[in-house]
Every structure is written in C-alpha cells, then in structure tokens.
C-alpha cells in the first residue's frame, strides 16, 4: 500500500528547518488542513451518537443506587 510508509518509518525528525524558520505560505496552508482534519476526525466520532452501552450503564447505575 502506497501510504503505508507513514510517519513511523521516519521517526528521527527530518523536519527541522535548517534555519529554524518555517515557510509561512506552506505553513499556513498546512495549518488550515490540520485544523480541518482534526475537527473532521473528531466530528466523525461525535456523529456516532451515544452507543447503547452507555445508556444501559446509566440505567444500571441508577437502579443500583435506588436500593
């Protein structure tokens, strides 16, 4: 798979800028992309709603506590 050579194979940080400065144009675009991906990834889970196990858990706990 083409994308399987992900970050793991490159762990020793080849990303340090030689002069310590990031390219502002590239950086801005990539920062926007990072923000979107972070939210997309997060919202993907939020959209799954509340799994049944948690509703059942609350029911069970409340029943226990009634005793």
């Amino acid at each position: 798979m083409k994308n399987s050579k992900t970050a793991a194979s490159r762990s020793q940080d080849p990303s340090e800028e030689p002069d310590g400065k990031a390219n502002p144009g590239l950086g801005g675009e990539i920062r926007g992309k990072i923000g979107r991906q972070l939210r997309d990834m997060y919202d993907d889970v939020v959209a799954q709603g509340v799994p049944d196990r948690f509703v059942e858990l609350l029911n069970r706990l409340e029943k226990q506590n009634e005793k």
């Binding site: 490159r10 919202d43 799954q48 509340v50 799994p51 609350l58 506590n65």
Partner: protein, 183 residues
C-alpha cells in the same frame, strides 16, 4: 443517588464528545469506550462534588483526562515506551479504529507529546476556550496556549513532509536540496 432527568440528559449529551476526546487521546476505540465508562462511573459516584451551574461537560472531560493520564503513566512504567505502545495500537487495528482517511493524521497526532496532544484536541476540536482547557488540564492558560502552538507547529512539520512525499519520486531531489541548504 438518582440523577435528575435534566442532569441525566446532560451527561448523556456529553458522551459523543467524551468518546471523540478519548479516541483522539488513546487512538483505540475499545480503550476509549472503557475510559468513557469509567468516567461516567466516577461522575455518578462523585456527582455531589459537581457544582450546579458550572460547565458539566468540562467537569466530565477533566475526569476522563485525569483517568487517561494516570493510566498512561502506569503503562509507561510497565512498558517503558508509552508513545511506542500508542503507535503500535494504531497499526494493529486501523480499519476498525479509525477510518483510513484519517490514518496519516492520527499517526502524526500520535507523535506529539501527550500534553500537547490533549491541549490541541480540547481547543482545536472539542471547542473549549483556552481558559476551560487550562482548567481541565490543571495548568496555566499560557501553558495551554504554548502547548497548542507547539502541537500545531509540530503537526505542520510532520504533515508537510507527508505532502511532499505525495509529489512522487523526488526524494533524491529533496536530499540534494536540503543538502544544499545545509552547506
């Protein structure tokens, strides 16, 4: 004690976001759901210590975050390579865990130190203010800001390397270019 219906509804309403936070932190759905379950248990046991009128969601996030961090510390002692374990868990179950389209992003996220990762998620995805995130993480607002900043910079570095790779067989060219910059 029994939750009043309003409280019960508010707790359940927080679950999707708690799961998203837990999955983003741990990279593993099963572990994340266990964390959420443990969070709800603790929340109900300690419901009296919640101050009505304050942010319930932030309170629940604080419980989950502290559970995760104590578990993380424990694992780190047990296995030595905390981050390596996390990366390994990503590799072993990518399909079920995380949709493939987010895999590269998750791999990059996994490389961040835990304190930067949690700060970035709280502010950048959960929608908490810097002040709220500072309260959840038990640190100063300035610390959160600097963690978020460093996390973004680090991710930008990691992701720009990913996207450079997309341009194809140009590694040799890049090696030459970066060699040139170094000389």
């Amino acid at each position: 004690m029994k939750l009043d219906p309003q409280m019960r509804e508010a707790v359940l309403a927080a679950v999707p976001s708690l799961r998203a936070f837990a999955i983003s932190l741990s990279g593993n759905v099963d572990r994340a759901d266990d964390l959420v379950q443990e969070t709800l248990l603790r929340a109900l046991v300690n419901i009296d210590s919640f101050e009505p009128g304050t942010n319930l969601s932030a309170w629940l996030f604080t419980i989950l975050r502290n559970l995760f961090r104590s578990e993380y510390r424990k694992r780190r002692r047990e296995v030595e390579d905390g981050d390596g374990t996390y990366a390994e868990s990503l590799k072993s179950q990518p399909e079920q865990e995380a949709r493939v389209e987010f895999r590269e992003f998750r791999a990059a996220l996994a490389k961040l130190p835990a304190d930067q990762r949690e700060a970035l998620i709280l502010v950048g995805a959960s929608g908490f203010s810097y002040e709220e995130a500072a309260g959840i993480c038990g640190c100063a607002v300035g610390t959160i800001k600097s963690r978020v900043n460093r996390a973004r910079t680090r991710l930008a570095e990691l992701m720009s390397i990913e996207s450079l790779d997309d341009f194809g067989p140009d590694r040799a060219t890049r090696a030459v270019l970066s060699g040139g910059e170094h000389s």
